[in-house]
């Protein structure tokens, strides 16, 4: 395989990993409105 093909594969993998980390982090930090005394799992998120 050509060397530049390896470079492209590595760059694609790095971009995918960074994108996945940012997406997971954004989801972890998403805020909401928590109501107490409510059945667990209620709500869609």
């Amino acid at each position: 395989m050509q060397w530049w093909l390896w470079v492209i594969i590595v760059v694609v993998i790095i971009v995918a990993v960074i994108g996945a980390v940012l997406a997971i982090q954004a989801r972890r930090r998403t805020g909401g409105v928590i109501i107490t005394d409510r059945k667990k799992g209620s709500g869609t998120r």
């Binding site: 909401g32 409105v33 109501i35 107490t36 005394d37 059945k39 799992g41 709500g43 869609t44 998120r45």
Partner: protein
């Protein structure tokens, strides 16, 4: 004197101390199913890669809530998240996010899905009280309002346990489109429930 805020205006606000330190960011607003009183906030750490914190901010430790920050005296205002939830709960130890939940009237009609929550903050910040007074909802097809979001007032004796959020059928008569007239709509709705004139 009080002001009305959407929960989305408070979420993500930085938490700043009197010393000027920016030490956390608001994540969730926690309120009691019985009565609708805001008990406090869960927190995110500062910075893109910081996750949710294990500490929370009780409402009574908040000095002020403004458009750009939540002000506290110092970092000692924080308490463990479990302590905050336990303090706000009155019954079974459980909690859930209401954004995305369906709103039903007590005569069985679906009004729509909650996209935001309206909070009334009595002027004076932490010395006063904050209560959930309404929901902003994406209307259901049967409501006949197209896709225009609407604000629906809640009774002062709010009860919101269970899979759906229940409101009195009379709430439909007091729906508004924006926050400008919503305070009066909440007062009128609650007076109506108490048997007073509209």
């Amino acid at each position: 004197m009080s002001i009305l805020l959407r929960s989305s205006e408070i979420n993500r606000l930085p938490v700043v101390t009197f010393a000027g330190e920016d030490i956390a960011q608001i994540k969730d607003i926690v309120y009691a199913a019985r009565g609708g009183q805001v008990g406090g906030f869960t927190l995110n750490g500062r910075g893109l890669f910081a996750g949710p914190l294990k500490t929370a901010l009780p409402w009574e430790k908040v000095v002020g809530v403004g458009p750009d920050a939540v002000i506290i005296r110092g970092e000692d205002a924080f308490t463990p998240v479990e302590s905050l939830l336990a303090a706000v709960q009155s019954g079974e130890p459980a909690a859930g996010d209401i954004l995305g939940s369906q709103v039903l009237t007590d005569d069985g009609a679906a009004l729509g899905v909650v996209v935001d929550v309206v909070i009334e903050v009595a002027d004076g910040g932490g010395a006063a009280q904050a209560d959930v007074v309404g929901y902003e909802i994406d209307p259901a097809e049967g409501v006949g309002r197209g896709t225009n979001r609407m604000l629906i007032p809640l009774p002062d004796t709010l009860s919101a346990s269970g899979e759906h959020l229940m409101v009195p059928a009379a709430a439909r008569e007091f729906v508004t489109d924006d926050l400008a007239g919503f305070g009066a709509a909440v007062d009128d709705f609650r007076a109506h429930l108490r048997g007073g004139p509209r």
